[in-house]
Every structure is written in structure tokens, then in C-alpha cells.
Amino acid sequence: MPVKVAFWQNSDCWGCHQSLLNAHLGLVPILPELEIVYWPAVIDYKYESLEARQDGEILVGFVEGSLRTKEDIEGTKLMRQKCQLIINFGSCSCYGNVHGLANEWDIQEVINRKFVQAESITDESPKEPYEHVPGFESKIIPVAELIKVDVSIPGCPPKPEAIISAVQFLLGQKGFPQNEKPFCTDCPLNESGCILDAGKVCFGPVTSVGCSLKCPSKGDPCVGCFGPSKTVANRAEKLKTLTRNLSSVSSGEKKSAYEFLSLFLSVPLMAGFELSADILKQIKLKGEAQTPIGGLPSVTTDIATNLLGYLREHRDFHEISNVCDTCPRIRGRMKMDKVKRDYQGLPNQEDCFIEQGYICMGPVTKAGCGGLCIRVNAPCTGCYGQTIPGVNQAERYADTVIKGFNVGLSKDQLLAQVKDPIGTFEKFTLAENKKFRGGA
């Protein structure tokens, strides 16, 4: 049975849809599995047809775009009512995106610039349009502050791979073959020196055999590259106990857990695909869609559920992985002694942007993009969102780079040289910043 899916567009640019269409031939195996019941970008259904659906009739709803107009608010609420699962699709719905920069001003000032003051206007007394148009919200807020959201796929736009992974995950189409035996069977540390026996996290007991065993031969834990196995090793229970209390493990172990989860869900990077734990339970309970959880040993399911539970409650789990993790540039050869603007000179393609003097948001931005901007010699501006929301982003940036990079400036010196702190540090996420939302 094809799964019912709906796409809702709030105030947006169409780019997330273009990104999905950019998967091109990658769409071919997925499309027959979907019954798309609403998608104005591509399909001719009208608004009434969405209103006419029964509550909860649609399994998955993708909500995309920023909440700029009153129509955006109504439509988003309608989607929550009609869909069992809501996916925040792209950085607009996740964080408000650049549109949230308008929160810096009173809405009337914003409206006047466009409809009253623009230099090309020729009307004698122009005013804001009022007929058959919905009106504006005074401030933009992230979608998750309006309705409950189950999954978030950030990115401006999200990578096609992340979208396809999300859909495949929901459809239960897994990316890797599943072997009978667990990794432990072949592990050189099975007899002596086992990482789990030493009380540390290793995913060998629930992972398929078949790799070249490089990790354990270097003394590193298994992070699950080959996907879940059909049967588990005895030490699986030990692992399950450890994952119940991830707060107490080292950051290196958390990183392994993070990598495992992303591989387990066949998602390139978890930060590109956030899940709340109960989504799995919901799908399982409904029994309408098979997920990778389906048909696995129950201890494996429990471990994944523990990890997802931790993920939901600890946003810092994401902090483990940022854009620098996928950046090939070299650190330690140069030193920031002055903040440069992007138009100044041309950065070389080998050294870290920050150490060459340029502001790069990589160290405070969630991974998931694969460093696309960096590849064409442009510093990261943070479109996947901050690894830690709700803090003073300018100060956090300065603290982070002074601690982790070759920077010859004090915090005050660095920040004083950035003339546009909002546009530099909160370009995509200002809507999350309650300081600019006043009483709204």
C-alpha cells in the first residue's frame, strides 16, 4: 500500500522542492511507494481537497517555508491536524531562515519599505495590499513553536540525499544488506581486550559482519558501518545497559553512538535528519509503514530507541558533529590576527578559513551539508543551524574559535571587528532569538 504524503509550502523560495527534484533518477524507486495527496509545487490538487481529508489520514506531512503570513499559520495547523507525522522540511521551517532577519524591525517598518517607500513606486499614496491577501504575522517564529514537530531536516536547502533518506526510512527501504552474524564473531578483540568488557560503548554486538575490521585492530569501537545484523552477540545486553545512561559516557563514546545512529537509520549524517524518539513508536504502533526497526532483534530496537531518546532530550548530542568534521582544510599553519571581510583578497584553498582571518561558521554549525561551500572556497555562513540554540551566538562563536583555533585576538577584539553581528552570526536563525520578538 502506498503511503499517503502531503507537502505544505509556507512563505518560501521553492528551493527545497527543487532540491528534492534534484534527486532526479533517485526518485524513481520511491515515487511508486508514495501517494502524494497534496503538493501545489507539482500536483494540481486544491486547498479544499486537503481540508476534506480526515484527521490523521495522511501518514507524513512535510512542512516547508517560514511562517510569515496568516495563511502560513492556518495551513500549518491544518497539516498538523491531517498528518500523523510532521517533518520540518528545510531551514525555513526549522529556524525561520534569513526571513527571520526581519524580526530586527517592527513589521510596519518592514511593510512600508516595500509597499510605500520603494524608489520605483509611482502611486501618489501607496499602501499595503488588503484585498484577497492574508496579512502578515508581526514576527516570524520557528514552526516547532507553533505545532508539535516529529522530525527536522535542516539545510538551505537540505541535501537531496537527506530527503531521500528520510523518505526511505519512513518507507522502510533500507540502504544496506543485512548479514546473519554480528560483528563480534570476527572481532580480533572478542577473546581478550573487548571494548565493551572494559565498560565502553561499542556497537559490535548488533552490527553485521563483513568489514575489514580496521576499527578494532586499531583499538577503536565498531560504529555500525555494515548496518544491523539479524542475530546479536551476547554482549548486546551490556551495550543496552550503557546506552540507557549516555550522559555518563565520554564524548568519544557519544561520538560513536552518534555515528552508529546515523548509519543505523541509513542517513548520511544525523544532523541532517533529526528524529524525536517517539516517531518510531508511533510508526510501530500504527503498523502502517515498515521501518528499519521492523524485523530486527528486540535488543537492537531497544538500543536505537535509547539513543533516539537521548538525542531528543540532549540537543548537545548534535554538537558532537559540526561542519568542521567534514572540512578537509588544514589547521595550525596560519593565525587570525585581524578579522577579514569576504571581499578582501582571496583565501587559499588549503588552510582553515578562520586561521586565514575570515569568519567561518563551521565550528558552530550542524554538520549534514558535507561542506559544499568550503569546496568552492566560500566560508560557511551557517545554513544548517547552530549546534547550540538559545545562547548568545556572537559570544559563543568567539569563545569557540579562540579556544579551538589559532586566533591571536581576544574575544573583545574579535567581536569589535564584526560590524554586522546579527547578519554574521544569526543569519539563518534570528527567528529563534526571543530577544527580537518582544511581546510576540
Binding site: C13, Q18, L21, H24, I43, N377
Partner: protein, 434 residues
């Protein structure tokens, strides 16, 4: 009784809008509105930003045409600061904007427009979409996907990302094209030219099939807004060219755009209505986009495209008012873009590392950048302070240029449909697929 016909939302559209046609009790069409129901105020929130960061924000205006929204503000800042760019950067930008033109026009033709032609306008709405086209005509569908894929991958290669590129910077480009990537695209380009020819054949068959519609429905005289470089079709640089309903061509330097273009704020749409100022509103309503471009152009920049332009003009006139001829004009522009892509890929300059002016300095002043985006002229008028902070932006995008013209042709067509019952006598072809 007054009757309102609403279409909400208009689908297969990049943007948010509804159509509203008001019929009087005498059966006459009283009003035809295109209500654009969303806008996001880029004009305002770029204030206070670094000028060189404006091109990293504004691509979010349009996910289908982010490349013009990346390059045009870059040009505007360069104009304001008096910055020249090296020739390799100019060629890279032209390659980038043509790669976008190619993929966007094909997306428009195959994903947005073709479902109407291939299934027929009366088909089941549930089937009238590109997914169904792919299922029913896999050969054409796979070819279409390969073409869009080529264009988008080329955009991603040069722009860094195909949606919301980042590689242009005030003073040039951040990086030349890698030679191995260039070789990879060069290997595919001849196949793409063949695909384009096949697409043109499909387009011409559609023209033949729907000739009755093209020649009789939505033939609406308006002004046109295009861009040419000394009369030759150009989407990256040139002067603004206005074409009058009777075919007169008038050129304006981009810095004089306020002499030519006026903006009316309608009560019923967040997309404002642009018009030709000397003619007044609503008389001066113009249309932009590909047909406006072919109406404005004396010739195309490449041989195959120029031959195609001549063939179209022979059939529908030097200046065409046929709304449905937009699809034809779009294919002519597609041919030009793939020819230019080949020419530029063969130019060693695109791999030349001398692609950025190193000593760029901000200065106080205004600058204007203009390009032709896939759906019409794009103009950025930016004000910079001495430190290079953006003080103000006036922005004219394709939607503003087109919306009044769309209403005008909607009104005209609504009258044809509801008053003259013109559709009843129309000859429509059998659908290619059902």
C-alpha cells in the same frame, strides 16, 4: 448574481497565489485578479548587512532561479564600489547563469508545462503532473531528467550548490573550474545538444497540435521588457530594452531604469505591478520573460538558436503577442544556453586561477546590477556606505514584471472563455498520454 470563480492555490507555480475571476449577472467578466499571497521583505532585512553578504542572502528569493539572485546583487555592489572583474570570472559567471537557464527552462517545460500539453488540459487533475508523464513516457521522462540533472550538476560544480550558490564574490569568483570537472562536462555536452534538439522537436509538434489555441487564445498586445547587448540576446549583461505593442524597440541604460519602469501597488496582490512609465498605468503594462526577450532581440547569440528565432518570427511575426508562444520562445532560449555552455566549456579561461580582483575597497555610493533571470528581468539597486554596509535596496524581480501582464491576459482569456465561448469551437488534439 455576481459569481466569483476562485482557483486556490495556483499549482505548478514557484510562489503562492490564487486566481479570481468575477462574473457579473449579465455573464460578463468584471474582474480578473492574480492574488500573490506571500512576500518575505528581502528589500528590508538586507539593510545593515555587509554588501558582500547580500548575494549570500538573496538567492533565497527564488529556489528555481537562485543563480541570477546571486550574481545580480554581486554586480550591483561592484557597480557601487567601482570594481572591475577579471575576464575568467566573467566567463565563469556566464557559464553559471547559462547552466541555470538550461535547467530552469527544462524544468519549466517538462515539469510545469508539459503535463498540460501531453495529457491535454481536460485530464484528471490527479494525473496531470510530471510524475505521471515519467511513468507513461519513460523515454522522454528519463531524457528530461538527464537534461535537468546536467544543468543542475553544472550549476553545483561552479556555484558550489545548485540551489543557493555561493561562489561569486564582489571582485570575481572564489575559485576557477577544476580541469577534470570541465572535462567531465565537456564529454556530456554533445549528448545534451542532441537531447535539446529532440526537445525542440517535441515542442514543435506541440505547436502544430495546439496551433488553434496558440493563434487564437490569449493573444494580448502589451509592451515587453527585455535585455540585449547591442541588440543581441544576452542574459548576463546589456541594456534594458522596451518593445512597444506595435513593435518599436527603445533602449535604456540600466542606470536610467527609473525613467522606464514604474511600480504600482495594487490592493489585491503582494506582487506589485510594473509598467512602462512613459505610457502610464495600466496602458503601459508589459510582460517579461522569454517571449519578451525574443521580441526584444534582433538576433540570438548562437547559430542554432538564431535559426530557430528566425523560424519562429516567420511564423508568428517579428513581435508576437501570443501568450502560448512563451513555450516556443523558452525552447529557443534553451538552445542558446546549451550552445553557450559548450562554447564556454571549451574556453581554457574558465580554469584560469586569475578569477578574483584582489584589491577591492568599499566606497559610499549606489550601484545597479541587471541580469535576465529565467522568468524575467532582475534588477538590484543597492546603496552602500563608506564601510560597505548595505543602507538600502530596491529590488525588481521577474514576478513584479509579469504579474500585471498575466492579469491582462487572464482578463482577455476569461472574456474569450465566458463571454465569447471561444473554447467551444477550438480544435484540441488527442492527448499524447492518458
Amino acid at each position: 448574481m455576481v459569481k466569483e470563480i476562485e482557483v486556490e492555490p495556483v499549482t505548478r507555480l514557484e510562489g503562492h497565489g490564487g486566481l479570481r475571476i468575477v462574473l457579473g449577472d449579465d455573464g460578463k467578466v468584471k474582474d480578473a485578479q492574480f492574488n500573490i499571497t506571500s512576500t518575505r521583505f528581502f528589500e528590508k532585512f538586507v539593510e545593515g548587512r555587509y554588501c558582500e553578504h547580500v548575494p549570500r542572502i538573496t538567492p533565497r528569493i527564488c529556489g528555481i532561479c537562485p543563480i541570477p539572485h546571486h550574481l545580480t546583487p554581486t554586480k550591483a555592489v561592484e557597480d557601487a564600489w567601482g570594481v572591475e572583474i577579471p575576464t575568467p570570472a566573467l566567463k565563469l559567471r556566464k557559464l553559471l547563469i547559462n547552466a541555470k537557464q538550461y535547467s530552469s527552462h527544462l524544468l519549466h517545460f517538462y515539469a510545469l508545462a508539459a503535463p498540460d500539453f501531453l495529457l491535454g488540459p481536460m485530464a484528471d487533475p490527479a494525473l496531470r503532473n510530471v510524475v505521471h508523464v515519467i511513468n507513461k513516457m519513460p523515454e522522454v521522462g528519463v531524457m528530461a531528467l538527464k537534461m535537468m540533472d546536467f544543468g543542475q550538476k553544472l550549476c553545483a560544480e561552479i556555484g558550489g550548490k545548485s540551489v543557493h550558490p555561493i561562489s561569486a564574490i564582489v571582485g570575481g569568483m572564489k575559485k576557477p573550474m577544476d580541469e577534470d570537472a570541465r572535462d567531465r562536462f565537456l564529454k556530456q555536452v554533445d549528448e545534451q545538444i542532441e537531447f535539446t534538439k529532440k526537445t525542440v522537436d517535441i515542442g514543435l509538434k506541440v505547436v502544430e497540435d495546439y496551433w488553434d489555441v496558440i493563434a487564437n487564445v490569449g493573444v494580448v498586445p502589451t509592451y515587453y521588457l527585455g535585455m540585449t547587448k547591442n541588440g543581441v540576446h544576452d542574459i548576463y549583461e546589456g541594456d534594458i530594452r522596451i518593445v512597444t505593442p506595435d513593435g518599436k524597440k527603445i533602449d535604456y541604460d540600466v542606470h536610467k531604469y527609473l525613467d522606464a519602469l514604474g511600480e504600482h501597488i495594487p490592493a489585491h496582490s503582494y506582487a506589485t505591478h510594473m509598467y512602462y512609465k512613459p505610457a502610464g498605468y495600466p496602458e503601459g503594462i508589459y510582460r517579461a520573460n522569454c517571449l519578451a526577450m525574443t521580441n526584444a532581440a534582433d538576433k540570438m547569440a548562437t547559430p542554432l538558436a538564431d535559426a530557430a528565432l528566425k523560424a519562429m518570427k516567420e511564423k508568428i511575426g517579428e513581435v508576437s503577442h501570443h501568450t502560448f508562444a512563451y513555450h516556443w520562445a523558452r525552447l529557443i532560449e534553451t538552445v542558446e544556453s546549451i550552445e553557450l555552455i559548450k562554447e564556454l566549456l571549451e574556453d581554457p579561461d574558465i580554469c584560469n586561477p586569475d578569477c578574483k580582483t584582489l584589491d577591492v575597497e568599499p566606497r559610499e555610493g549606489q550601484g545597479i546590477g541587471v541580469t535576465e533571470a529565467p522568468r524575467g528581468l532582475l534588477l538590484y539597486h543597492i546603496w552602500s556606505d563608506a564601510e560597505g554596509i548595505c543602507k538600502k535596496l530596491n529590488l525588481l524581480v521577474a514576478t513584479n514584471h509579469n504579474i500585471a501582464g498575466i492579469e491582462k491576459s487572464l482578463m482577455h482569456t476569461a472574456k474569450q472563455v465566458f463571454e465569447d465561448k471561444a473554447l467551444e469551437g477550438l480544435k484540441l488534439p488527442e492527448p499524447w498520454i492518458k
